[in-house]
Amino acid sequence: MLQATFAGVKNLLIGMGVTFRNMLSKPVTLQYPEVKRTMPTRYRGRHFLNRDEDGLERCVGCSLCSINCPVGCIHVVAAENDPENPVSKGERYAEVYEINLLRCIYCGYCEEACPVDAVVLREHYELADYDRDNYIMEKQDLLVYPEPNEFRVNVLGNTERVNK
């Protein structure tokens, strides 16, 4: 009986030990939406289109993202650049670039296929909306960043943030 009591107390202490340990450690939950989680750099969230150093669009409208997309959620219509007033470097640019975020499975194949590192999936995960139409991301949505464009593509082909 005594033995059983010991075992009970011991198990209780082990259990409470976990509780006390977690009481002192940093909590995993965040006070969302007041506090936002920082996602890992390679997290695949919402798409953006990059610009290059000169502020021109990187996208040349090659449609490789759209042909690689397993769900077919990207629509690209290309057009010829006006050499006087180019939209992108190179001869063509994407006149229309649309991504259907509802259909997208966030696999990141588009990012991988992109030969000019134009389309990237970034850490933005807050995609809830009341209107389905808002999920069709057009060019103006994709080129506008929530913060100043401070990104570059590193040697591995990943987009990383430039910390100033």
Partner: protein, 831 residues
């Protein structure tokens, strides 16, 4: 030719002597990579991509230049070959820019494919790639990217050997070697677009298609070009129901793998702003007896058509079936033509026609396929200018003359571009084709010792006796002759005389003979076969053969010969014809008569025009119905060689298909046949049209198939009327110009740079008599119409004639012609 057996990669193959190793390898599915070699152009040995190892030969050989030899052992794999392939590709790619994502060829590029399959993984090049001009226009429709060019010389070889124009050449040497034209002139002949298809890299690109879509985004539809009677096979690329581009789809029996520029860039009429999209009522003309109290405005076309056909029926009942008429289209499909003639014969009339010239179905000799031109040792052109009328026929004749040993004879009233390939050129005076054709027939009959019931007179033709003699001799001594004649360019009943000539040729022993009736309209042969004629039912069954007509078409089928198109217009003018239905035809501009046609059409109680584009005729119509036209319609067409091919739907139209619309009207008239698909119409054609028994949609397939010869009743032509005295007037020859500014090529067309000003080609002596010199403006008048033109003195025709190319619809040159189709006299005065 004897066969040769050789071994390629351990596989034994037997091919005819003279075959290149690279072609022999294709037969046993061994892939030898090439850039410069093209089976239609021939060997070049320029790119060195096709190096193979041949046993007992010390070095690697180029498979594209090497003829097969007996017991040859070829190896296309192995270290030696692979090293060579890698080396050649690395070298080719040294200065090739890596802009595949931007390049229009990306996805269908042989350089990409070959590099992927045979190329080195890396380059040893340490320096910057050479930069060159990125997008230079070679012509308004072709752009060249000099960086991408790998100097394989396929395009220049094409230019030299196929179109035989040397439009494109290699300029400069070594590192500065480039594809260009002499003196930087634009590269703008009739076949320039083919270099886009054959370029193995993205150097020569289609300016119209530039960056419009990636190749893998296109939906490719195998269909037919609708711009001339050659019916070349094309691939029409669309994206999201929008027209993108046209490429050639090789079919040896039709186009030999090439299409002309009009075929490639002349299809923008599909998205023209002049397209008729809905049925409408024009408030013109007489409205009283047949006015529509409640025309269904904004209703679908089928509702309007139902109403209109009812009114046609009423008119036929009130004034007799002779008071209505139908003008069909030589541009429509066989199915549409067939259903329309069925519809109007159901109304009890034979007033059905589709053309302004005379022609009858059937030929007294074999109807040759276009391919037979290569096997013939004589090709005789009668009043035919293939370069302008049927461009791909022109390429075929050039090929036959330069590579197959064919001799070209020409009997024409004007000089043509093909004349320089002709062995013998006999030119007759404009308007005297009847005598010229008869003289040839008589000469041949004399040689044969046959008795004939006609005589001819060389006098009015201006042909010398020796010329005619040598022409007769050349025809008689041929082994296989192909006569190519253009019924649309022959005045009066000359096409019947040509048929008489053909039957004389058929009587020459030891000669294989055939003919190609080469009218330029897309489906001219099909329209004749489908019985869009006043005196013939489909398949050349004459209306007079009442027994057969009744057997095929029922007891009530009309057996009285109807009115031809020109007669219908004359009757409309006199008021005997009350109602006329016009399908995809523009008689106001295309028929001779001009103002007289307009007056006649205005005089009708009811004019219905079923067309795809707004024309001068739709302006006069009371009712306009929408037709979809090429790109949107489906069915079959018969080309000049009698080959039936399928024209497939490439784009979805908003309004109902033509054949469905006609079916609605047939149902309204109580016809019981119902067609669920257009193929069912073809099934009925194969049952009811003699000559088309073997034709069904499965058999037609992708390559098409030849119809049986359509029988024709020989109609004997009348006597040649002695020409009226000229009185200082000249005989008019309306020539065809391929890039005429009409409804198909409108002002916004990519080919608008080809448009020409109106000109008149005069003989020196006539020009002297009239007192005009090169470049003068003259006014040409005849038949109550007048037009202006610029004089060119170049002896294109003989004395007493004038050649006026039809360069636009506004020019109105057809208005100078006689409505009955006889040779027209015109007055030329200095303006």
């Amino acid at each position: 030719m004897s066969d040769v057996t050789l071994t390629i990669d351990g596989k034994t193959v037997t091919v005819p002597k003279g075959t290149k190793v690279v072609d022999a390898a294709k037969q046993v599915e061994v892939d030898i990579p090439v850039f410069c070699y093209h089976e239609k152009i021939g060997p070049l040995g320029c790119c060195r991509m096709c190096l193979v190892e041949v046993e007992k030969m010390p070095k690697l050989m180029t498979a594209c230049t090497m003829d097969v030899a007996p017991d040859m052992v070829v190896k296309t794999v192995g270290d030696k070959v692979e090293k060579a392939q890698k080396g050649v590709l690395e070298f080719t790619l040294l200065n090739h820019p890596l802009d595949c994502p931007v390049c229009d060829k990306g996805g269908e590029c042989p350089l990409q494919d070959n590099t992927f399959k045979y190329g080195p993984p890396d380059t040893r090049m340490e320096f910057h790639r050479a930069n060159n001009v990125k997008a230079a226009p070679l012509s308004p429709v072709i752009t060249i990217d000099r960086e991408r060019c790998i100097a394989c010389q396929r395009c220049t070889a094409y230019s030299e050997r196929i179109e035989q124009d040397r439009g494109l050449v290699m300029l400069n040497r070594g590192f500065h070697n480039e594809v260009n034209t002499f003196n930087n002139e634009p590269y703008d002949n009739r076949f320039s677009g083919n270099v886009i298809d054959i370029c193995p890299v993205g150097a020569l690109t289609n300016t119209d298609f530039r960056f419009k879509a990636r190749t893998w985004d296109l939906e490719n539809h195998d269909t037919l070009c609708a711009n001339c009677g050659c019916n070349c096979n094309i691939t029409l690329g669309t994206r999201l129901n929008e027209f993108m581009r046209i490429e050639a789809r090789p079919n040896d029996a039709v186009d030999d793998g090439w299409i002309c520029d009009k075929g490639r860039w002349g299809h923008h009429f599909m998205e023209s702003k002049n397209k008729i999209t809905a049925a409408r009522e024009n408030s013109v003309g007489k409205t009283e007896p047949t006015s529509f109290p409640n025309f269904p405005i904004n209703a679908p076309a089928e509702q309007a058509a139902e109403k209109v056909i009812e009114i046609f029926k009423n008119i036929a009942e009130e004034h007799g079936p002779e008071s209505i008429g139908f003008l069909g289209s030589p541009y429509a499909t066989n199915e549409e033509g067939y259903l329309y003639q069925k519809l109007f014969r159901l109304l009890g009339t034979n007033n059905i026609d589709h053309k302004s010239y005379q022609d009858t179905p059937g030929l007294p000799i074999r109807h040759f396929d276009v391919e037979e031109i290569e096997n013939s040792n004589i090709v005789l052109l009668i009043a035919c200018d293939p370069t302008e009328e049927l461009p791909i026929l022109d390429l075929r004749i050039k090929k036959a003359v330069s590579r197959c040993g064919t001799k070209l004879l020409s009997l024409n009233d004007q000089d043509t571009a093909l004349d320089k390939y002709a062995e013998l050129k006999v030119k007759y005076k404009v308007g005297s084709e009847a005598s010229a054709v008869d003289a040839l027939a008589e000469g041949l009959a004399r040689e044969l010792g046959e008795s004939i019931d006609f005589s001819s007179d060389l006098g009015p033709t201006g042909i010398s006796d020796e010329d005619m003699k040598s022409l007769v001799e050349a025809v008689r001594s041929s082994m296989k002759i192909c006569v190519v004649y253009n019924p649309a360019a022959l005045s009066g009943d000359t096409s019947l005389r040509v048929k008489r000539l053909l039957s004389v040729i058929a009587r020459i022993p030891t000669i294989e003979c055939g003919a190609i009736p080469a009218a330029p309209a897309t489906n001219a042969v099909g329209a004749v076969d489908m019985g869009l004629l006043p005196d013939f039912y489909p398949g050349g069954v004459p209306v007079s053969d009442s027994e057969k007509v009744k057997e095929l078409w029922g007891e009530n089928a009309p057996t009285k010969p109807g009115l031809s198109a020109s007669e219908m217009i004359a009757k409309a003018k006199s008021g005997d014809l009350k109602a006329l239905w016009i399908h995809r035809s523009n008689p106001v501009v295309d028929f001779p008569g001009g103002e007289q046609v307009v007056e006649a059409l205005k005089n009708l109680d009811l004019l219905v025009v079923h067309d795809m584009l707004e024309t001068e005729t739709t302006q006069l119509a009371k009712i306009v119905l929408p037709s979809n036209g090429p790109g949107f319609d489906e069915g079959t067409t018969t080309n000049i060689g009698g080959r039936v091919q399928a024209r497939r739907k490439a784009l979805e139209a908003n309004s109902i298909d033509d054949w469905k619309l006609i079916q609605v009207m047939l149902k309204k008239l109580g016809d019981e046949s119902s067609y669920s698909r257009v193929a069912k119409v073809l099934n009925e054609i194969s049952q009811k049209v003699p000559g088309y028994q073997e034709i069904n949609s499965r058999f037609v397939g992708k390559q098409g198939c030849n119809r049986e010869q359509v029988a024709g009743e020989e109609v004997s032509p009348g006597n040649v009327e002695s020409a009226a005295s000229s009185n200082g007037k000249l005989q008019l020859r309306v020539a065809t110009y391929l890039f005429a500014h009409d409804k198909i090529l409108d002002a916004s067309s990519k080919l608008a740079y080809h448009f020409k000003p109106s000109s008149a080609f005069l003989n020196e002596s006539d020009a002297g008599k009239i007192g005009v010199s090169n470049g003068d403006r003259v006014s040409i008048s005849g038949n109550g119409t007048e037009m202006e033109a610029e004089v060119t003195i170049d002896n294109r025709c003989m004395e007493g004639g004038v050649v006026v190319p039809r360069i636009s619809d506004e020019q109105g040159v057809n208005g100078l012609g006689n409505p009955d189709g006889s040779p027209a006299w015109v007055d030329i005065k200095k303006a």
